[in-house]
């Protein structure tokens, strides 16, 4: 059995560090790094344990079993997301020492960044580990509030406006989600996923509840019609923060959505759900790419690229693993979706960190400002290129593996429309990423000088991008972990 501490540590450590950071701002960086380090180690051990034992790990906090108590559980999926979150979190915080580190005197941004970031990470870990809808709600709220605060960190006018709009969307989303939870509780008298799955039956109120929760979560994941808040928020936020915002925050609400439809109510997903989410995802891919193509600022391109790539995730519902029996081997779209979530997180974090480093060096984030920066920052540019390769889904990156799994599922189940969308997404990604790459690699005009940037701001994104590519190369390992504790629906597919 997995030692209970492994499940508690990823949540407790960051929260503890957040409190310490508030109390001793001078030691904030040390506390933060050590806390996330602990979380990373715990998640690593957890992943190894899960892989080795082949079963998830569960812990009823305080000995109170559900439905009364709160249970923490880690199956393959949550272990994988946990590990990704901790890795990206550590990377981001290492880079954050630059702009937000202790500089002799206490500044507003320097002081408030660390607790917010740590709360955000704690919230993420809480969501990934919990099995209870109300627990999800609490995690979701903590996540949203800290994210909104991070967006408004710069204090500039458009940052605050963006934060406010983000808050509005987030509030609507969480309210609808809460309403759905309330109805579910009214229906089944419990909010624990396992118990609901046991006694779920398809009837009106359950569907209404699930619909409400889906709408709420879609708003938080910035699915196409509800994405308007994301670009301005992620551009307003400081680059380091937007790395976490883009890479992790939407994945948490998507994670809950997956739990709702694949684990809690496997039988309920009617054609309505799959087609709606699928079409909105497909439109998100195309729309996000077109917008990314038209942007002039580097951060806006990356933000709209997030909108597009998130569309991929929602293709999991229509594809939903495809009837794996038909495929000669059981590669499911579900696994593809989850691998895409992780590899996109890593690549997007790397890309935003590079963008941050380049903006610091060039003093502006327009494509013309960063032209020819490869001469000065070869490593960062190479990291950016590697991340771009993952986003385009070119082999040997993790993105390719995800795309490949989704494509096989699409072709096997005859739904080649979604396959075409996946491919088009890859091509469009190549289209809108070509301009930034071309201007980065362009010959810099001699009189343009870039200020030097600490080496770590280049090495961390490179490391993250390499992990994203590694995901594609050594993909047997993540593939097996994701299968642990995979629900039937994920395998057989929502009918």
């Amino acid at each position: 059995m997995v030692h209970p501490a492994l499940l508690v540590a990823p949540i407790a450590a960051p929260l503890l560090a957040a409190l310490l950071a508030i109390a001793f701002p001078r030691g904030a960086v040390a506390a933060a790094l050590s806390a996330v380090g602990v979380a990373l180690v715990a998640s690593l051990v957890l992943v190894v344990e899960v892989a080795r034992t082949g079963t998830g790990a569960a812990l009823a906090i305080g000995g109170w079993p559900p439905p009364l108590g709160i249970a923490l559980e880690a199956d393959g999926l949550s272990a994988m997301f946990l590990l990704a979150a901790s890795t990206i979190g550590l990377g981001v915080l290492v880079v954050a020492q630059g702009p937000f580190g202790w500089t002799g005197r206490e500044t507003r941004k320097g002081y408030s960044f660390w607790p917010l970031a740590l709360c955000l990470l704690a919230a993420l870990n809480a969501i990934f580990l919990s099995r209870d809808f109300f627990n999800f709600y609490v995690g979701l709220e903590l996540l949203s509030l800290s994210a909104v605060a991070l967006v408004a960190l710069d204090g500039k006018r458009e940052a605050i406006e963006a934060a406010l709009r983000y808050l509005m969307f987030a509030l609507v989303g969480s309210l609808l989600y809460l309403l759905g939870a309330a109805l579910l509780y009214a229906q089944y008298g419990t909010l624990d996923i396992g118990l609901i799955a046991a006694s779920a039956e398809t009837n009106g109120p359950t569907l209404v509840a699930a619909g409400l929760m889906t709408a709420g979560l879609a708003a938080k994941t910035a699915l196409f019609p509800l994405h308007a808040w994301l670009p301005s928020a992620h551009t307003g936020a400081p680059a380091v923060a937007s790395a976490m915002l883009s890479a992790l925050v939407p994945k948490a609400s998507f994670f809950i959505l997956v739990r709702v439809w694949f684990d809690a109510l496997p039988g309920q997903a009617g054609p309505g759900l799959t087609l709606v989410l699928g079409t909105m995802g497909a439109v998100a891919i195309v729309y996000g790419s077109i917008l990314a193509l038209l942007q002039e600022r580097l951060k806006l391109i990356i933000a709209y690229s997030t909108v597009a790539q998130l569309g991929y995730l929602f293709l999991v519902f229509p594809l939903a693993g495809g009837d794996s029996t038909a495929q000669p081997w059981f590669a499911g779209a579900w696994t593809g979706g989850m691998v895409h979530a992780v590899s996109h997180g890593l690549a997007k974090a790397a890309m935003f960190l590079c963008a941050g480093a380049m903006m610091a060096a060039a003093g502006g984030d327009k494509l013309s400002d960063v032209r020819g920066i490869v001469a000065k920052m070869p490593l960062a540019t190479f990291a950016f290129a590697l991340a771009a390769v993952t986003l385009m889904g070119l082999p040997p990156s993790g993105g390719f593996l995800a795309k490949y799994l989704m494509l096989t599922a699409a072709f096997a189940s005859g739904a080649w429309v979604w396959g075409a969308v996946v491919l088009a997404g890859g091509l469009l990604a190549a289209l809108y990423l070509y301009r930034p790459l071309a201007s980065l690699f362009a010959p810099a005009d001699p009189d343009r000088t870039f200020t030097s940037v600490p080496l770590r701001t280049e090495l961390v994104p490179l490391a993250l991008a390499l992990v994203a590519v590694l995901l594609g190369v050594a993909s047997q390992f993540p593939y097996d972990i994701l299968q642990v504790g995979r629900s039937v629906a994920a395998e057989a597919g929502l009918e």
Binding site: P67, L68, T107, R108, K109, F134, Y137, V138, E141, L145, V148, A149, A152, G155, K156, R157, I160, E161, A163, L164, L167, M168, L171, V172, S174, L175, L178, L179, A182, L183, Y185, A186, G189
Partner: protein, 104 residues
């Protein structure tokens, strides 16, 4: 002690909750200032908590079911935090747009 009341009290609370949620959502979506939206947000919140309470009562025999009450308390705390953040942001925005920039 009166017999069964004409309609069960939990139903009354449930309907009130539903009405509050509807009003709040409508208020939220109308093109209004942010402040009004935050207020609408609180209305919807209380509506939902009322609903939660109503569901709790429905379970007969051993008195009210404790779980919804716990959830309601947490919900209220979270709603309060969200409102506080919203108001703080609005103040910051007002201050910024009035010309004085936040200290870095």
């Amino acid at each position: 002690m009166g017999g069964d009341p004409i309609i069960a009290s939990w139903l009354v609370y449930g309907c009130c909750g539903a009405v509050l949620v509807g009003l709040g959502l409508f208020g939220f979506m109308r093109p209004t200032t942010t402040l009004r939206r935050v207020l609408a947000f609180n209305i919807v919140g209380s509506g939902i908590f009322l609903l939660f309470g109503a569901t709790g009562y429905r379970v007969p025999s051993t008195g009210a079911d404790p779980v919804p009450q716990a959830l309601i308390i947490t919900g209220i705390v979270v709603a309060l935090a969200a409102t506080a953040l919203a108001v703080a942001l609005m103040l910051a925005l007002a201050r910024v747009s009035a010309g004085r920039d936040e200290d870095a």
